[in-house]
Symmetry: C2
Subunit: 334 residues, 2 copies
Amino acid sequence: MGATIKDVARVASVSIATVSRILNNQPGYSEETKRKVMKAIKELGYQPNAVARGLINKKTQTIGVLFPDISSMLSSAILGGIEEVTHEHGNSVIVCHTAAQGNKTMKYIQLLREKRVDAILWVSEAMREEYYEVLLDMNIPVVLISTESNRFQFPYVKVSDKSASFSATEYMIKNGHQKIGMISGPKEDLISGFPRYEGYKLALHEYGIEMKEERVVFSNGFDYDAGKESFKKLINHSPEITGVVVASDEMAMGAIVAAYRLGIDVPDDLSIIGYDNLKLAEMAVPPLTTVAQPLHELGQTGAEMLFKMIETGEKARNIILPHSIIERDSVRPL
Amino acid sequence: MGATIKDVARVASVSIATVSRILNNQPGYSEETKRKVMKAIKELGYQPNAVARGLINKKTQTIGVLFPDISSMLSSAILGGIEEVTHEHGNSVIVCHTAAQGNKTMKYIQLLREKRVDAILWVSEAMREEYYEVLLDMNIPVVLISTESNRFQFPYVKVSDKSASFSATEYMIKNGHQKIGMISGPKEDLISGFPRYEGYKLALHEYGIEMKEERVVFSNGFDYDAGKESFKKLINHSPEITGVVVASDEMAMGAIVAAYRLGIDVPDDLSIIGYDNLKLAEMAVPPLTTVAQPLHELGQTGAEMLFKMIETGEKARNIILPHSIIERDSVRPL
DNA sequence: ATGAAAGCGCTAACAG
DNA sequence: CTGTTAGCGCTTTCAT
């Protein structure tokens, strides 16, 4: 089982050095010997051992991806993009979803370190001092996807949450809405919570609309149930609103259902705009108007930055990917 | 950068063998030396090199997971289960989504082979002779998740598609429905297409209901759009039906929307039952009654079987996981 | 154009 | 209890 380069060399009656040269097409062999070697390889069903290669080359052709416990719909789309370009580069990806309970992030970083991954993609999780230190110590390229760090100098690719949320709110305004509520994520979430809230406030401000505190509710998450609950609170405090900006599609789905239960028709009685453009947005009734994050592209771009860093050794520049409004049927022009 | 076992040995003034013993807690060292060594390790920030270990142990503590291009919602739930137990066993997972266009499956198998993964989890894709051969040649444990192979002897864990579909249909019948349609997956899909169709037929037969060909439509996929299109066809051919069994939740979502557009109320005019119990099932309006596959558990169980095989060397037994009906609001008792 | 030999970092006999 | 040594499978000088 498992022929080695030695076996190939023996069968082809050449040295292992020659086989190695042929395998890595480095100069220094005749066509004649190449034929012999290729024949031996075929005969033996030889497969190069990437582990041995990794040991000597100090490159495993493997990158690690760290995901926090975000919506699986978000993460799988991003992962798709990552995998695509990773495979194009002949590498593979080890995934680590840092589970909800018990912060395993540190443990996973250690794991990736022992496995000697060539680089790390850090998705959607806030960078922290303790992580930063070991990541830095590992001395490999790291890029952040859908998160940023001013304090820690890793390049990132993301959508501007504030700006995207601004656009969502602006879209409402341009559709004639003035009394606009918001279902926000957690205020303490500095990545996707607070910035989206800020974008909302900013849009109101820029369009000269007074911002009322009771028109925004901060959920403690971004999921469906959070959306449902938050909607009830919101509509309770501020029944006068005609539109609501929701910080995630999942929450928006919850809001639509909660509204439906209360006999509030979307979009006839109330307009709703989501955030993310998950696949489920188009499945909503009514189909959800939302501001799209290019999820797949986020993954692709992050991976591309990573490989550029691996190849050139230079640090990549930060990239802000454009968001866009996907017009469907949940917002009614007033 | 990167202290090695040698450095540790030098700093602790012992031999590398002793360090190795301590690292792998094998007998043969005094508490005294252990302290010295641990101190050196800490000082140097030493991290064992899993690549070197893998080379000598012929175990990489890494498993490969092959996914076809199935719904991301399905795959991410299964992957979650896989990751959970894989990490519990101190292993990591390399994921390979065999993309839609261009069958890269073979290429990925080769990749996993070169990387010397210890085992492979084969998810939701039909096994084929050409894959089987190289998998067998790799001589590592393989388990199939959500797919089976009678012809090829790999153990599997799955839900009985036929039986689950039987249950879904039976549920309709027990709720008083007699004229029951079906939106099936592709007839040629021997894993999730045909068996679910069979379960439907069987249930009708067992309950003495005549099966009418025009009441079933075979989609060419399992997604939302397929569901929408298929529903239109179905209701066109067979407007008399009072219930429809749909072979996936995504298609069921499509069916609900298509029905809605046609002014058909679910469940008042028509009952619908889905299949999978994806997260989106509860987000539907009305919330979708469906037959649940224990997705996370499918992943867990598959991984557990794999590790048992790795540890004991014995082949695992096939496991059929139970499905269950999740009652929500899309089926109305007649 | 080809081969011999020295490791990559680690584990596992085998000696002491 | 501890050290010496021989590799794991491969790449890479350095000779020839």
